[in-house]
């Protein structure tokens, strides 16, 4: 579904991505893992068209995403830190996003998370008054709202309380089962155990490996993802 073809990107002297190639398919739930500054976010942003690669290209359903924007209709993105116009209420943000995307989508809105997080009670709160966790909830809701084929979640559980975190994870599992592609970056590896099917490990802008979780477990002999990753890192 999303194919990155030897993508490289430099920020000044820093090489954020070095010749990265990945293939992500429908029904997969992929964890993007790596130390800080390893290029995870840059890769995600390249897929979203927010960063333009210096070389290489990315296709979405077989079409090059360069100079294209319509493909993002099929992507739900939850940023690491969501920030919204301070003076708008949650309700306004949601209706604005609906407003913006309405005409492109024929699918029904998926407001399951909105209700699960209890946002309807907070609709009149202004964004600047919200806690980090609530803002994250809004971001999560927005990512799922339009029932997209692809979900890209950047540190989705960071800042969420355990209950909400659990709710979100359940949601992700359900969506995965419905045949969607889910890309997750997270530092909290324990969160990912039950969710993911594949692991992409990145370091210093390079793709170290892209394996299925089973494969990784077999290779490292570790049951838990955290253990498996730790042993990979130790080996290096």
């Amino acid at each position: 579904m999303i194919i990155a073809n030897s993508v490289s990107k430099k920020f000044g002297r820093l090489k954020a991505l070095r010749d990265v190639s990945v293939t992500c398919n429908r029904g997969e739930c992929i964890a993007l893992i790596g130390p800080n500054g390893s290029g995870k976010t840059t890769l995600i942003k390249s897929m979203l068209g927010m960063v333009v690669p210096d070389s290489g290209f990315i296709t979405f359903n077989g079409k090059n995403i360069l100079h294209d924007w319509a493909y993002r209709e099929f992507i739900g993105y939850m940023p690491q830190i969501g920030r919204y116009p301070e003076n708008m209420t949650i309700g306004q943000v949601l209706s604005m996003m609906k407003d913006i995307r309405k005409k492109n989508s024929s699918r029904a809105l998926d407001e399951e998370l909105v209700h699960a997080f209890g946002l309807p009670a907070l609709m009149d709160k202004r964004m600047r008054t919200l806690s980090g966790g609530t803002t994250q909830k809004v971001s999560a809701c927005l990512a799922f709202l339009f029932d997209p084929d692809v979900l890209i979640l950047d540190e989705p559980t960071a800042g969420l309380d355990p209950v909400s975190s659990l709710l979100l994870k359940e949601k992700i599992t359900r969506e995965k089962q419905r045949g969607k592609l889910v890309l997750i970056t997270s530092h909290i590896l324990s969160d990912l155990d039950d969710l993911i099917t594949q692991v992409i490990y990145m370091q210093d802008g390079s793709l170290l490996f892209h394996k299925s979780l089973e494969h990784l477990r077999r290779d490292t002999g570790e049951e838990k993802l955290s253990g498996a990753i730790a042993s990979v890192m130790m080996k290096k």
Binding site: W69, Y84, P85, E86, M96, I100
Partner: protein, 255 residues
């Protein structure tokens, strides 16, 4: 696109700084018109506000707003929207709301207390300068990644347009005192929208003094309808060019 403009405008119009700016303009213009014994003196006092405060607030506020909206812009970019449209919407939203603030704070009082050619020109120039400096701010903000640096660039740009440029012009004038400089001055003034706006207002306000010496040249150029139109065109270019450049940069920018 209109939707984004709508949301940006509603967001900014509720912004405390913009409210304070409107209130400030309103307070100044009302007090100026009520304290001075005649409206033309009031206009004179407002001239400085329009030429210096309006550009300053517009450029600084817009720059800060763009930086503060970085995440929001990211969110928008991750949506199925054309980048060009996002940026133009932001620009239009900023320009519209600052225009509304200016018109509410200064424009309407001027039109009420001094509904003559001078007042009208002043309001028109205030509007144009507002938009121009939003446009310049957009360019400054898209060019520099760092917020502090971006704001610094904006302040410098404002200082340059409102003070340093004129200092340079005066310096040039005295360096080339022996030469006929009138035409060169006209061309030079086109490089500074504040100067251009000021001259167009002066042509209405201080017509008698401008008529002497150099005035003849100015009047010949700006006084005619086509000259006035040309000056307006140059000002519109000052809106379009930085905005266009910033759109191009934004389209390629990594977020």
């Amino acid at each position: 696109m209109n939707k984004i403009i709508k949301y940006v405008v509603t967001d900014i119009l509720r912004n405390k700084i913009v409210l304070a700016y409107t209130a400030f303009l309103l307070a100044i213009s009302l007090s100026v018109f009520n304290l001075e014994d005649n409206a033309s003196k009031g206009l004179l006092s407002l001239l400085n506000i329009i030429l210096f405060i309006v550009p300053l607030v517009c450029i600084i506020f817009s720059t800060i707003y763009i930086y503060n909206s970085a995440e929001f812009i990211e969110l928008l970019v991750s949506q199925p929207l054309q980048r060009k449209k996002i940026w133009i919407s932001l620009f239009s939203g900023l320009a519209t709301s600052l225009l509304v603030a200016f018109l509410a704070g200064a424009g309407i009082p001027i039109l009420i207390y001094a509904p003559n050619a001078t007042g009208l020109t002043m309001v028109a120039m205030g509007c144009l300068l507002s938009i121009i400096f939003v446009s310049v701010a957009m360019l400054a903000a898209v060019t520099t990644r760092d917020k502090a640096k971006g704001i610094g660039v904006s302040v410098l740009l404002w200082l340059y347009f409102s003070l340093l440029f004129d200092g340079l012009v005066l310096f040039v004038l005295f360096q080339f005192q022996e030469y006929p400089m009138e035409k060169a001055m006209l061309v030079l003034s086109g490089f500074n929208p504040i100067d251009l706006g000021r001259i167009l207002i002066l042509l209405k306000m201080d017509v008698s003094a401008l008529m002497g010496y150099t005035g003849a040249v100015f009047k010949d150029v700006f006084g005619t309808t086509s000259g006035f139109a040309l000056a307006l065109l140059v000002m519109v270019l000052w809106v379009v060019f930085p905005a266009w450049l910033s759109v191009r940069k934004f389209s390629k920018k990594d977020l």
